[in-house]
């Protein structure tokens, strides 16, 4: 009885030891992963700075104007193309809003200012 008990304790101790070691290794592995992710975040943040600057460079108004003139037939909007209040468009169904298209990404910061200035899109069809 006593011997059995001793053996049981010894086995428990060995198992417990092994489990703790296992746990330690697992924790270490996780810690390494966290460190690697932190390093990745750091690298990404640096890359974001470079990309932001590059984005600003590539989308500067002069470059956009050049491209617009070269590839698009867009003209500056005339006063009569701009509506302050879309409800003044005749025969426009009221209360029916166009569904948001998740495929279209709009920068949040620009939205507020632009919505007032949106040219009347359906000029031809509504009249």
């Amino acid at each position: 009885m006593r011997r059995l008990f001793t053996i049981l304790v010894a086995i428990t101790a060995i198992i417990a030891g092994a489990a703790v070691l296992q746990l330690k290794l697992a924790v270490q592995e996780r810690a390494d992963k966290v460190k690697a992710i932190a390093a990745q975040i750091h690298e990404d943040r640096e890359a974001i700075r470079v990309l932001e600057a590059e984005w600003a460079y590539l989308t500067n108004p002069r470059a956009l104007q050049d491209k617009s003139v070269r590839f698009l037939a867009l003209m500056p909007p005339k006063a009569e193309q701009i509506l302050e209040d879309p409800t003044t468009i005749p025969f426009r169904p009221r209360g029916v809003e166009a569904e948001e298209d998740p495929g279209v990404l709009l920068p949040a910061r620009g939205e507020k200012k632009d919505d007032k200035a949106k040219p009347k899109a359906k000029k031809g069809t509504s009249l």
Binding site: H42, V50, E52, A56, A79, K113, K116, A117
Partner: protein
């Protein structure tokens, strides 16, 4: 180890028994203690294994992401667009000792960095030294290309570089930095300590500029400058209610990314540093002072039949009508004779006090180191009062003028001009004229466009009001009649003013399109019109049909002939 029964047998006998008993009891206590400790540990282990980890524990475990190291904060525009940022650059150096074939390495390097000279690189690589600089400040792409060459003797030294992605755009406001990253002009210099402050490095400075408006103004001024072969141009868009500068252009300009080639002429900020006699735009202030202090009402008029001769000067009209003119007519037709007489009625002291009150006699407080002090006569004589009333004999910066005009139209509140985003600035304004005077000035400005000299600024739908200004350039000993400063200051929309737009051309020449004219109404007004047409949709000003009733009463007083 003995069996337990032998202990039990011994325990029945004498003193020995009691000694063993004590020892055994003590042992049992120790054993029990150990068991208790192990039991606690087991229970705790099971508990830890079963329990879900507490939130607090996770949060308290700090995961440290090394911060991105850079030594100067960004500058952004009001929409968050990057105007100036620090990027990690790399400088290329080589250890020629490690190079076997200097010629081949040089040819390869020059193929990716074409601005290096082959002979020079080759001599450097063949020099046998341990260290030679090859090129400072490579772009990330160039660095990648050099790495792709796969030559082990090339090394990079990490360096930081201030980059202005928009190039020349808004260069005068931004300023520039030296090689060590110290601000040497514009906002870079004014906020140098703040930008380099380690504790605020990740908070960019947000300027009041709007890149899109800035570009529209630059583009239009450049076009006008080349069309009229002017030697310079300046322009400004300002929010009338807050004093925020939305766009500020001075031409010719420079590229802050490479300042070395730019001379004083390019670096000179004509909007804040340059002071000019701006001519008739000043009549707005004379009218505001006279109307506000009850010297004249809109129903009054002055005789403008013949030029005024005073001392050795003659005051003439550029658009002479040679008749009695009502006040609205004097403003719309820009009559110097009428305005000068009104200034005499106002008096020197009151004129001086008024101009000082709207900040035209002190340098502007804008957050830029390049600020010009206004020029005006030390002793303000009668002739000064008369000429200053129509903008001659006093030189102010376009920025001061725009601030003053803002106060005239926004209901009479003067706000300090600022280049830093500050939408609450209207709270700190100072009332300089009454609301009703401001309303009259709005009507006068609008009529100067619809009926007077500013007709070429009338952008359909945007209700622009404004005043032309044409002045001869002061040269040593008098005025140069061939060199003009032509300007136009516009405000829109006139029924609820939001923005002041100012355009100035330095020494413009007449063209076929302007029939040889080079006055403000011919060369500067169209610039303002185009800028308004391009930027009003961006700034959220909607075009609408004008309420003619607003101006009817005054319009009847203007007789076109």
């Amino acid at each position: 180890m003995r069996s337990a029964s032998s202990y039990a047998g011994l325990s029945l006998e004498g003193q020995q028994k009691s000694a063993l008993e004590v020892a055994r009891n003590r042992l049992m206590v120790a054993v029990l203690l150990f068991f208790a400790a192990f039991a606690v540990m087991m229970v705790r282990t099971v508990e830890l294994g079963l329990s879900t980890p507490e939130e607090v524990q996770v949060a308290s475990r700090q995961i440290e992401v090394p911060a991105v190291q850079f030594s100067r904060a960004d500058i952004r525009d009001r929409n968050g667009e990057v105007l100036a940022t620090n990027l990690e650059g790399a400088s290329l150096y080589a250890n020629p000792q490690e190079i076997k074939d200097a010629h081949e390495a040089a040819v390869k390097l020059v193929s990716v960095l074409p601005d290096l000279s082959l002979a020079e690189v080759e001599s450097k690589l063949a020099s046998g030294r341990h260290f030679v600089w090859l090129k400072r400040k490579l772009s990330p792409r160039e660095k990648w290309q050099v790495n792709a060459l796969g030559i082990p003797a090339f090394y990079f030294q990490r360096e930081e570089e201030r980059v202005y992605p928009h190039g020349r755009l808004a260069a005068h406001t931004l300023g520039f930095v030296d090689v060590d990253g110290n601000g040497l002009g514009g906002v870079e210099r004014y906020f140098n300590d703040r930008l380099a402050d380690k504790s605020m490095i990740d908070q960019p400075i947000k300027l009041s500029l709007d890149t899109r408006v800035q570009y529209a103004l630059t583009d239009e001024l450049e076009a006008a400058m080349s069309a009229h072969q002017a030697i310079g141009a300046a322009g400004l868009v300002m929010d009338v209610n807050t004093g925020e500068v939305i766009a500020m252009v001075s031409l010719p300009d420079f590229d802050p990314n490479s300042v070395s080639g730019a001379g004083g002429q390019e670096r000179f900020n004509r909007v804040t540093q340059g002071v000019y006699e701006l001519g008739s735009t000043f009549k707005t202030f004379t009218f505001a002072a006279a109307l506000d202090q009850g010297v004249a009402t809109l129903n009054d008029g002055y005789d403008a039949t013949k030029p005024i001769r005073i001392a050795r000067f003659t005051i003439n009209d550029d658009h002479p009508k040679s008749r009695y003119l009502t006040l609205p007519e004097i403003f719309a037709f820009s009559s110097n004779i009428g305005t000068a007489q009104m200034a005499l009625d106002l008096g020197t002291e009151r004129q001086q006090a008024f101009l000082s009150n709207i900040g035209l006699l002190q340098p502007s407080n804008i957050e830029l180191p390049e600020v010009g002090a206004p020029l005006y006569p030390e002793t303000w004589r009668k002739i000064s009062t008369m000429t200053i009333s129509y903008g001659h004999g006093i030189a102010v910066s376009p920025l001061q003028l725009a601030s003053g005009i803002s106060a005239m139209v926004n209901g009479g509140r003067l706000n300090a001009a600022t280049v830093v985003e500050n939408p609450d600035a209207w709270r700190t304004g100072k009332q300089v004229i009454s609301q009703s005077t401001s309303r009259k000035i709005r009507q006068l400005l609008r009529l100067a466009v619809t009926k007077g000299t500013g007709g070429r600024a009338d952008a359909v739908g945007y209700r622009i009001g404004g005043k032309t200004g044409t002045a001869e350039k002061a040269v040593a000993g008098g005025y140069d009649t061939r060199a003009l400063i032509s300007s136009f200051v516009g405000v829109y929309p006139m029924d609820d003013p939001r923005y002041v737009v100012f355009a100035l051309l330095d020494e413009p020449r007449g063209t076929k399109e302007t029939f040889g004219f080079r006055a403000g109404g011919w060369v500067a007004a169209p610039v303002v019109k185009n800028v308004v047409l391009r930027t009003a949709p961006l700034l959220g000003v909607a075009p609408k049909r004008e309420d003619d009733g607003l101006y009817q009463q005054l319009a009847m007083m203007i007789e076109k002939d």
